[in-house]
C-alpha cells in the first residue's frame, strides 16, 4: 500500500476507501466492455478483474502465460496461476501469444505497470541508475511489455505516483510510450497509439494531443493539484478541463474487496 498517498488522500475528507482502492476502481472503469485486454500482473490484473465483475462482463482477459479469455474467480498471484488456464477460452503456447495474437494487432488494450514513468509515458522496468552495467537497482526487466506497448491498439498504465517514479526521463526505456514527443511512435513504426491513459493513486493523466506530454486531466476525491505536482518529477501541466473522479461506489468497493479476500 502507498502509505504517503493514502494519508494525502485521506486528509482531504473522510473516506472509507484507500487511495489504492480508488486507483484500482478508476483503472477498472477505463476498460470498456467487450475489449480484448492484455493484462499484466499486480495492479492491472486487479483492475481488469474488477471491471469484468462490474460494468464489463465481456472483457476478454489475455495473460502472457498463454491464456485467452481467462475468467478467474480470485485474483491470480502470478501471471500463470492455474485458475487462469482452467477458466480460459483457450490455452496456448507462449510463442503463439506474442506472434499470433499480440504482434498482428489483435489486442485492444495493453494494461501495464511501471517502476519508472516519464513525461512522455515511456516505461522503465529494467534498471535504476545511469549505468546499465552497474545499476543502482536491478529491476526484473522487460517481460512482455516492450511488444505489448508497441502492438496493442492503446496502452493504459496503472502505477502509484511519486516524485521518484514519475521522472523527467526514464533511466532506461524498456517500453516506448511517446518517445521524445509527438510523432515519435510513427517515426519508429510502432503500430499502436501508445499510452492514452495513466491511472495513479492521485488522479489520471493523458497525453496532450499536440505534444504527447502527459498532463493531469483528473483528480481523485480529496487530492489537490499541489499533491500531484509534489509527486511528479517534472513540471506537470494541468488540463484546463481538469475533472474530479467520482468516488468508488459501494458496489465497486465491495467487488474489489471480495476479490482481494478470495485471493490466495
Amino acid at each position: 500500500m502507498s502509505g504517503a498517498a493514502s494519508t494525502t488522500a485521506a486528509s482531504g475528507a473522510q473516506q472509507d476507501y484507500t487511495s489504492d482502492e480508488m486507483m484500482s476502481v478508476a483503472a477498472a472503469r477505463a476498460l470498456e466492455n467487450g475489449k480484448r485486454c492484455f493484462v499484466g500482473i499486480g495492479l492491472p490484473s486487479t483492475a481488469a478483474n474488477v471491471a469484468r465483475r462490474t460494468h464489463a462482463p465481456d472483457l476478454v482477459l489475455i495473460y502472457e502465460s498463454g491464456t485467452l479469455g481467462s475468467k478467474p474467480d480470485v485474483l491470480p498471484s502470478s501471471i500463470g496461476d492455474g485458475v487462469l488456464a482452467e477458466t480460459a477460452d483457450a490455452v496456448i503456447g507462449v510463442p503463439e501469444v506474442f506472434n499470433y495474437w499480440l504482434q498482428p494487432g489483435r489486442i485492444d488494450v495493453g494494461f501495464l505497470g511501471a517502476a519508472q514513468l516519464d513525461r512522455f509515458g515511456n516505461i522503465n522496468t529494467t534498471v535504476i541508475g545511469d549505468d546499465y552495467t552497474d545499476p543502482k537497482v536491478r529491476l526484473p526487466g522487460a517481460g512482455g511489455a516492450p511488444e505489448i506497448a508497441a502492438s496493442c491498439h492503446e496502452v493504459f498504465v496503472v502505477v502509484r505516483q511519486s516524485a521518484r517514479s514519475f521522472v523527467e526521463k526514464v533511466d532506461f526505456v524498456t517500453s516506448v510510450g511517446h518517445g521524445s514527443g509527438k510523432g515519435d511512435r510513427e517515426r519508429l513504426g510502432l503500430p499502436g497509439a501508445g499510452p492514452t491513459l495513466v491511472i495513479t493513486d492521485l488522479g489520471v493523466l493523458r497525453p496532450d494531443p499536440e505534444t504527447s506530454e502527459l498532463v493531469l486531466t483528473q483528480l481523485h476525491p480529496g487530492v489537490e493539484v499541489e499533491d500531484v505536482r509534489a509527486a511528479t518529477g517534472w513540471d506537470l501541466k494541468i488540463s484546463p478541463e481538469l475533472a474530479r473522479t467520482d468516488a468508488p461506489t459501494a458496489a465497486e468497493l465491495s467487488t474489489l474487496r471480495t476479490l482481494k479476500e478470495a485471493s490466495r
Binding site: 492455474g82 488456464a85 517481460g143
Partner: protein, 282 residues
Amino acid sequence: MADIVSLADGVGELVHDGDVVALEGFTHLIPHAAGQEIIRQGRQDLTLVRMTPDIVYDQLIGAGCARKLIFSWGGNPGVGSLHRFRDAVQHAWPVPLEIEEHSHAGMANRYVAGASGLPFAVLRGYRGTDLPEHTATIKWITCPFTGEELAAVPAINPDVSIIHAQRADRAGNVQMWGLVGVQKEAVLAAGRSLVTVEEVVDELEPVAGQVVLPHWAVTAVAEAPRGAHPSYAQGYYERDNAYYKYWDSIGRDRDTFRTWVRDEVLAGRDSADAAGDKEGVR
C-alpha cells in the same frame, strides 16, 4: 527411446560444467527439483537460459552455478525481487554474472528458431527501446519483400534443456497439459534434453489440450514427484504461493541463503530427493 533414469543420474550424465542450460516452465511446471540437483552436483560456469528466471534460477545463481544468464524477466512473481540475482548483478556475489537481456517476444522467438533449425528469428519488436544498445543479440534486418525493418534475434540452441511434465510412459513419451509455455520449443532446440515427470505410467491417457513429446525427441526422463514445487503441476498440486513469499526471506540474506542450501539442498532433504526414493519404478 528415451532413457528412464533417476534424477541424479539424469543431471549427472546430461549437464556438464560450462554448458548452456535451459530450464523452462512458464509459472507452471517449473523444474525445481532438477535445479536443486544441479546445485547438489556442484555444476559451475553454466550459461543459464530462461524467459522468467524466478526462484529456480535465484537458487542456482546464489549457489554460484552460473556465469551468465540469458533471460527476459527476472523477478519473484507476485512477491518482488530476486535477491540472489540482484546481488550477483549489483555486487558480483558469489561470482560475477554476465547478463544477456531480451523481451519475452524475443526469447520465445529465439527458442522457435532453435527448434526450427533456423539460425535466427524475426519479429516486430524492441523498436525504440534501450535493449538493442545493451544486448548484442538484437540486430535489425530488412524484409526482402516489403522493405520493412524488423528485429532479428539468433536461435537459442542449449546444450541441454530441462523441463517438468505431468507424465511419461515407460518408453519415455512425455505428456503435459495446462500452460505449456515454451517447453516444447526448448526441448526441440536443445542438443540433449531431460524431462522430469510427476509419474511414469503404463499408458498415457489423453487429456484435453495436451502436448506430447515423442520418446525419440527426448534424451532422458526422470520421475520427480512434486518436482515442480513450489510452482504447480495442473492435475497434481497447486502453486504454493506461500513458498514464494517465504523465499523472499531466504534469498534476501547471504547467510540465510547459504544455510538453506546446506540444510535443504546439499543435505538432500528437499522434495527433489523423493525422486531417489522411487528408483524402483525404473
